[in-house]
Amino acid sequence: MPKPDDKQLQMILEDMVIARTQAGRLWNLQRQGQVGTIAPIDGHEAAIVGAVHALETESDWVLPQYREPLGLRRYGAEVLDTFMLYNLGHPAGGHIPEPIKVAPSQISLGASIPHAVGLAWGMSLKDEPGVVLVFFGDGASSEGDFYEAGNLAGVLKAPVILFCINNQWAISTPTHLQTAADSFSSKAEAFGIPGVTVDGNDPAAVYEAVFNARKRATSGKGPTLIEATVYRLGAHTTADDPTRYVPSDDLSAAQEKDPVHTLTQDLKNRNLWNDTKQNEVETAALERLDEAFERAKNTPLLPNSLMDHCFVSDTSRQLRQRSMLMDSMGNANE
């Protein structure tokens, strides 16, 4: 049944509203200097949440770029908890605990795509069930990593879903300067795999595309490239000033199609959602974010963190550096 039923749509909307609400609070926290640079999710909710709801969280991996974490709630509360540590610049922000099948954010554009292919390939070598879905942007699709990995995935028939969120911008670079291809999904031709473009503002369409790609992958037929077209409604990040380059007409037109508003309206019309529910969800989302934020702030920063986890055990030079560091911190505490 590739289409999400009403119950699923309600859950999808709930996750979308939560993501949007928490993104707003996070933006404010950044403006107050409480967390580091943030890449807002606004406009991407349907694409991300719709995709994730078509996965089996127990068997399927998600490898995000950096805009997705707030949309991955379905994978467990730990995703948000870890994300808040990440936003603080805490080293534990890179460790989403077992058994959650979500990788931490990837800053190096495109670099996770070969990881996804290798992971999917490895799972199939081990005859493990499941697929890997890797998120990346229209901009990231220009990296050699995307192409090399997509081509490799095609040859290996790896159970991987290459999920390109085309939000029309790579920072200030519009898609027509990113590629002359007809669409990002048409790049699938180069890999000999199917490519589909879906309206990323329509979570049901996204769900369906991922559902089908998943089925294809798990039945040994190999990868699919999905392009979800959306519009980046916010800034690239808190460090960006989109008024320098985003035409305001384009933005207004896109706001008309805001995926959160559209689905809210739709479910309201069908009596599957109402303002009370909306308020409840928003309130709980903020409480949850604040709680995660507090917990993150109270997570001790172990003095060993700087030197730990480079190698399993220190080289002799690292040992010396570690003790030098401890000495100097001891001095600083005196």
């Binding site: 050699g144 920072i171 960006d240 320098r244």
Partner: protein, 332 residues
């Protein structure tokens, strides 16, 4: 005061932007390419105003393809143009390593000068501003081991102008590395007129007799502060700003180390294989006998560049430089 002596106080970022403007105006062969360098003026505004002034043909927003950016610069140079490439953060030069190290650095050598890589690659790097992964890494030593690349690392706004001008006009490929912390954190007097600082001439920014602190890029700023505070403690510390690590001003290093007899080398990069090692090896080669104590090095640690909360522990600060100097003074 003569025209040519006029100066303005600029941040390092402003000095870089101004230099790009004047070099593009001076030589129509200069083209600027990179991610977000056009309409957006660069994510740090280093290329601000260029596209408005010089147009879309000479200032090009590229796809996010570092290898193709660096690689196409080779072709642009073969066509007789002078590409000035921006890699958005030095860490992403890894994506272009086969073009930078494998092609650009060797173009002249492998073609015996049939083709000339008059290419400048600008990239910000360096810690202290809590950036995400791969934005802060100091990779200069990795490039220094690649023959055929010049590596320039200014520590002042005036030098940024003087060295970038030289870099763009230099017929050889130059990696021009800009410290993130210095973009707005460094301000000084910059000549308004054409200003050239030759590549390969270190700058003795502070004289001293007891010990010399040798560094480059933003660490020079910290070294100067330490050297000044040491005056109060009765230690006369010189500060040598290498300005470029390739070419390396071996003579300047030798002269000041021979004079002081003690040296501390400061870098942000990890200790193992960092460029400080090369400075120490050079001192060993050139003026071993004048050393009164082993050369000290102050470095990042041998771990990947860490997340924001750990950054202050990682990046050398005044305290660490200061205590390295004291230790060196006590030694021997």
């Amino acid at each position: 005061m003569q025209m040519s002596n006029k100066v303005s106080e600029l941040s390092m970022l402003e000095a870089i932007n101004e230099t790009l403007h004047s070099e593009m105006a001076r030589d129509e062969r200069v083209v600027v390419l990179g991610e977000d360098v056009g309409r957006n003026g660069g994510v740090f505004r280093a290329t601000e105003g260029l596209i408005e002034k010089f147009g879309e043909r000479r200032v090009v927003d590229t796809p996010i393809s570092e290898a193709a950016i660096a690689g196409s610069a080779v072709g642009l140079a073969m066509a007789g143009l002078v590409p000035v490439v921006e890699i958005q953060f030095l860490g992403f030069s890894y994506q272009a390593m086969h073009q930078i190290a494998g092609q650009i650095a060797r173009l002249r050598y492998r073609t015996q000068s049939r083709f000339e890589p008059q290419i400048t690659i600008r990239a910000p790097f360096g810690g202290g501003v809590r950036t995400p992964e791969l934005h802060s890494d100091s990779l200069e030593a990795q490039f220094a081991n690649i023959p055929g690349l010049k590596i320039v690392m200014p520590s002042t706004a005036a030098d940024a102008k003087g060295l970038l001008t030289s870099a763009i006009r230099d017929p050889d490929p130059v990696l021009f590395l800009e410290p993130l912390r210095g973009y707005r954190g460094i301000r000084d007097l910059v000549p308004d007129e054409d200003h050239l600082v030759p590549l390969g001439q270190a700058n003795l920014v502070k004289k001293g007799d007891d010990v010399v602190i040798i560094s480059w890029s933003y660490q020079v700023e910290l070294s100067k502060r330490v050297a000044e505070s040491l005056e109060g403690e009765g230690i006369s510390a010189a500060v040598l700003d290498l300005r470029s690590i390739v070419p390396l001003d071996i003579e300047a290093v030798t002269e000041i180390v021979s004079h002081c007899g003690r040296a501390v080398v400061v870098q942000e990069a990890p200790e193992t294989g960092g460029f400080a090692s090369e400075i120490i090896a050079t001192i060993n080669d050139e003026c071993f006998w004048s050393l009164e104590a082993p050369v000290a090095r102050v470095s990042g640690f041998d771990v990947p560049y860490p997340v924001g909360m750990l950054e202050n522990l990682y990046v050398p600060d005044e305290t660490r430089i200061h205590s390295a100097v004291l230790k060196t003074m006590e030694s021997g």
